[in-house]
Amino acid sequence: MKLNIKTRLVAAFAVLILLSAAIFYMGNTNSASLNDQLNTIVDSNVKRIMLASKNAEDIQFITKREKELILTGQVEEVQEYANLIENKNQELQERVELLRSISDEKGVEILESFSAKWNDYLKVYARIKSLSVKNTDSTQAEAYTLSRTEGREAAMGAVASMSQILKKNEKALADAKLQADQNYEKARMNMIILLCTAVVIACVVAYWIIASISKSISQAKSAIKSISEGDLTIEIVNASQDEVGELLDHLRNMVEKLKEVLMFVSTASDHIFSASTQMSATSQQMSQGSQEQAASAEEISSSMEEMVSNIQQNTDNAQQTEKTALKAASDIQEGSKSVNQTVDSMKKIAEKITIIGEIARQTNLLALNAAVEAARAGDQGKGFAVVAAEVRKLAERSQAAASEINELSGSSVSIADKSGKLLDQIVPNIQNTAKLVQEISAASLEQNSGAEQVNNAIQQFNQVIQQNASASEEMATGAEELSSQAEHLREAISFFKVGKDHGAGKKITQRRRPAPVAAIKTAPRSQGKHGVVLDLSNGNGSDHLDNDYEKYSG
C-alpha cells in the first residue's frame, strides 16, 4: 500500500484533531455542568440566602420601629413609624413571595410556618399600634409588655424560620461545592487520560513519519552533497515509494542527465578546443597567405604601372610610326612618280638610241657597199677598202653599243616599271599599315585605360587583402581566446567526476602551438620591363601545402 507523506500527515493530524476535539468536548461538557451547578447555586440557593437574610434584617428593622413606636409619645411620630413599618412589611411580603416562587417543597413548608408566625407577629403589632395611638402610660406599658412577650416570640419565630431557610441553603451550597469538586476531579482525570493518549498517538505517528522520511531525506541530502562537491559517481538507491522516493528518483535521473550533459559538454569542449586550435593555425596561415597576397598584389600593381608606362610609350611610338608611315606613303608616291618619269625618259633614250642604231646600221651598209666597191676596184681600192672596213667596224660597234644600250634601257625600263608598280603596290600597303598603326594606337590607349582600371582594381584588391589579413589575425586571436575558454570550460567541468570512462576531468597538457609564421618573401623586383617573379616557395623548397600543386619552371 502506498502511503505517501501527505496521506500520513493528513491521517496523523486528523487523529490529533479528533483527540483535541474529544478533549475540547470533554472540557466543554464539564464546564457546562459546572456552569449549570454555579447557576443553580447563584440563582436559587444564594438568592434564597440573600432574600432570607434580607427578610431577617427587615424583621429586625420592623421590631426596632415597633419598639420606637411604643417609646415615642407623639401621635405624629407613631404614624410615621407605622408607615415605615407598613412599607417594610410590604417589601417583606414581596420578598417572601419571591422566595416562595424559587423555593423547593421544604422551603415552601418553612415559608408556610414563617408566614404563620409572621401573621401572629402582625396581629400583635396591630394591637401594639392601637395601644400606642391611645398614648397613655398604661397603654404604653401594655404595649411594651405585649411587645416583650407575644411580639418578641412571634418575631423570633419568624427570624428562626428565616434562619432555618438560611441553614438549609447553606447546606445545599456545601453539597453543591462537593459535587463540583467531584465533577472537576472526574473531568480532569478524563482529560489527562485523553491528553496522554493524544500525546502517545502523536509521538507514534510523528516517529513513524519522521522515521520514514528521514532515511530518504538523508539519502537525498548525501546525494545532493556529493553533487555539490562535484561527485556524480554516486549510486542513489531508492527503497521508499513516497514523495521523497520520487525526489530520489528524480535526483537520480537528474544525476544521469547531468552526467550525460557533462560528458557531452566535455566532448564538445574537447572538440571546440581542438577545432579552435586548428582554426587558430588555419587563420594564421590565412593571415600569412593574405600578407603574401598583399605583397604579390603590390608587385602586380607596380608591374601594372610599368606596363602602363610601356603602353603609353607604345601609344606614342605607334602615333610616331603612323606619321612616319603616312610620310613614307607620300614619299613613295613621289618616288613612284619619279620612277614613271624615269621610265618615260628611258623610253625616250631608247628611241634615240634606236635612231643611233639605225644610223649605225645604215653606216654599216654604206661601209659594206664601200667595201664591195673597193674590192671590186681591186688594188686601187685597197686603201679605201681598209677605211671602209674600219668604218664598218665602227658602225658595227656603234650598232652593238646601241643595241646593248637598247637592251639595257629596255631592262632598265622594265625594272623601273616594276619598281614603279612595286612602289604603287607599297603605297596602299603603307597606308594600310598606317591605318593598322592608328588602330594599334587606339588599342594602346584603350589598353592604357584598361591597365589603369586594372591597377585601381588591384589597389582595391590589395585593400581587401589587407582587411582579410587583419580579419584573419583577429580570427586567430579569437580562436586562441576560444581555445583558452575551452580550457577554462574543461577545468570547470573537471570539477565534476562522472566516472572512469570519460576524460572530462583530464587536463589538456599539450597545447597545440600555432604554426610558425612562414616568412613572407617577395622576389626582388626584376629590373627592366619583364614583370615580376613571385617566389612562392616559402623560402625553403616546397612544403606539404604544395603537394596539391604541379610546378612548372618557365
Binding site: E358, R361, Q362, L365, L368, N369, A371, V372, E373, A374, A375, R376, G378, D379, A385, A388, A389, R392
Partner: protein, 166 residues
C-alpha cells in the same frame, strides 16, 4: 684581174639562218636596205617581188626559199644583195634577200676546201667550196649556178611583164 682572182678573192659574207655564206664581190653590185617589195603575180614561189632600183626594175628572190630553208620574218638586218649575174646569153641583175650582211673578206683560194658531195642539205653544185673562218665554216656560193638561167630568165620575164603591165 684574172691574176688576182687566182690568188685571192674578195668575198662578201652574209647569213642565212644559222649558216654563213660567202659570195664573190664580183657579182655583188651593192647592198640595199630592205624597202618595199612589190609583189608580182604568177611569179615563181621563191620570187618575193620587184623593187625600184634607181628607176630600174629589180626582181628580188627570197634566198631562204630558194635554198629550201624555212621562211622567216624580215628583220632590220635583212638586206637585199644586188647582184650582177653573167650568163652565156645575157647579163641580168637581181636582188637576193639575205638575213644579214656581215663583211667583205679576202679569202685565200688555197684555203678553200671542196664541198662534200653527200650530206649537205644544199645542192652541192651551188657551193664552190668551204672555208673555215674563226672556227666556223663559210660556204662559198657559186651565184651563177645558184640562180639558173631558166629561172633567172623567168624572173626577168616576170619582172618585165610586171613592168610592162605597170
Amino acid at each position: 684581174m684574172e691574176q688576182q682572182t687566182l690568188t685571192s678573192h674578195s668575198y662578201l659574207t652574209f647569213r642565212l639562218g644559222d649558216e654563213t655564206f660567202a659570195a664573190s664581190v664580183n657579182h655583188v653590185l651593192e647592198i640595199l636596205e630592205l624597202s618595199k617589195i612589190t609583189k608580182v603575180p604568177r611569179a615563181p614561189h621563191f620570187m618575193r617581188g620587184v623593187i625600184n632600183l634607181r628607176g630600174n626594175v629589180l626582181p628580188v628572190i627570197d634566198t631562204r626559199i630558194k635554198f629550201g630553208l624555212d621562211k622567216a620574218d624580215d628583220t632590220v638586218n635583212t638586206c637585199i644583195l644586188v647582184m650582177n649575174l653573167e650568163s652565156e646569153k645575157q647579163k641580168i641583175m637581181l636582188g637576193a634577200l639575205v638575213d644579214a650582211v656581215q663583211e667583205v673578206r679576202e679569202i685565200e683560194q688555197s684555203s678553200i676546201q671542196p664541198a662534200p658531195s653527200i650530206g649537205s642539205k644544199y645542192r652541192s653544185e651551188f657551193i664552190e667550196g668551204m672555208v673555215k673562218v674563226n672556227d666556223q665554216f663559210v660556204m662559198i656560193l657559186n651565184l651563177a649556178l645558184v640562180f639558173t638561167t631558166d629561172e633567172v630568165s623567168i624572173i626577168q620575164e616576170t619582172a618585165e611583164e610586171k613592168i610592162s603591165i605597170a
